[in-house]
Amino acid sequence: MGKPELKELRINRDWCKGCGICVHFCPKEVLDLDQEDKAVPVKPDQCICCMMCEMRCPDLAIDVILK
């Protein structure tokens, strides 16, 4: 089994409350908040699939989908 590769970083915009936890703790600055204060993947190619954003999301709004 090789390194996990990102297929999609899916954000449920209806559930996201824009707390910024995922943005703050992402080791690769993959995520940011947009103008509506919703999390968006801005550098998905940098994602190392550590899953921390998904696990730390208080709103269960993030799915890190692997290839």
Binding site: D14, W15, C19, H24, M55, R56, P58
Partner: protein
């Protein structure tokens, strides 16, 4: 089963504030349950009243949302008659240790097979930020505008003294540890207590000038250390996290089965 198959999606987004640690507890409790490969019908979640207690509405288990502080008593009645089910009782710090403090120590003393999760945000959030039995000396709340002079409980020491046979602490920052500890706690045959330090940026954070959710989680990262580590000796202020107690002692439902056997034998 995927984590989101365990929830009642129609009630999302949930009622908790942006950045509330309780959502992180929910998130990783589901992962622990997934790790144990438990079926939805095998789990009873019983909760009391408060921000934390609303968690039971969001999970697709058998859910019993009860009264303030009493969740463990209801859970005891359920468990005694359905010992094959997993009983999970998430509580807030006020719910578990102020109004429910007596029930908490007695459930621990009996060593009944229930998992108590104390979602410790050090404040009464639902009612607007009053100090709790875990706020601690010197903190502020809407009922301690100058300074809280009440000293806090140490949940771990209290649980140990009361007889809990599994005692652990973690935080919303340490999510991988949270999943492992919760899975161990649910799997443990006996009364298990997991304290999860959970940020309330809306009230505790704001009243005590601790910054937002990320600042509070960073505090958990910087001010905790694994149980038994050298760092604790160098810096006693650090809060230990990990598993403090994990022992096998006779479980209450099993013990009661012995009483039944003795009672039946006495009739012969």
């Amino acid at each position: 089963m995927a984590v989101k198959d365990y929830i009642r999606k129609r009630f999302f987004p949930h009622i908790w504030c942006p950045g509330c640690g309780h959502g992180i507890v929910l998130n990783n409790l589901l992962r622990a349950i997934e790790k144990l490969k438990l079926k939805k019908n095998e789990i009873v979640m019983t909760s009391g009243i408060g921000c934390s207690s609303r968690i039971s509405g969001y999970v697709d288990f058998h859910t019993l949302h009860t009264i303030h502080g009493r969740a463990l008593c209801f859970a005891t009645g359920v468990k005694m008659n359905r010992p094959e089910l997993k009983l999970i009782v998430p509580m807030g710090d006020g719910d578990a240790l102020a109004i429910g403090g007596n029930h908490f120590i007695h459930a621990a003393r009996r060593n009944i097979d229930i998992t108590a999760i104390i979602m410790n945000n050090r404040i009464y959030g639902m009612t607007g930020g009053q100090f709790s039995p875990l706020s601690g000396y010197g903190t502020k709340g809407t009922t301690a505008p100058f300074m809280n002079i009440d000293h806090g409980f140490d949940v771990v020491e209290l649980s140990k003294a009361a007889g809990a046979t599994f005692v652990a602490r973690t935080s919303t920052y340490h999510v991988k540890q949270m999943v492992d500890i919760l899975a161990d706690a649910i799997d443990h045959k006996g009364f298990s207590v997991v304290e999860i330090m959970s940020q309330c940026p809306t009230y505790f954070g704001r009243k005590n000038k601790l910054g937002g959710a990320t600042d509070m989680m960073t505090f958990y990262k910087d001010h905790t250390t694994p149980v038994g580590s050298k760092e604790k000796k160098a810096n006693p202020e650090l809060i230990e996290r990990g598993i403090f107690v994990h022992e096998d002692l006779p479980e209450y439902c099993n013990e009661y089965d012995k009483v039944i056997e003795m009672a039946k034998a006495s009739l012969k």
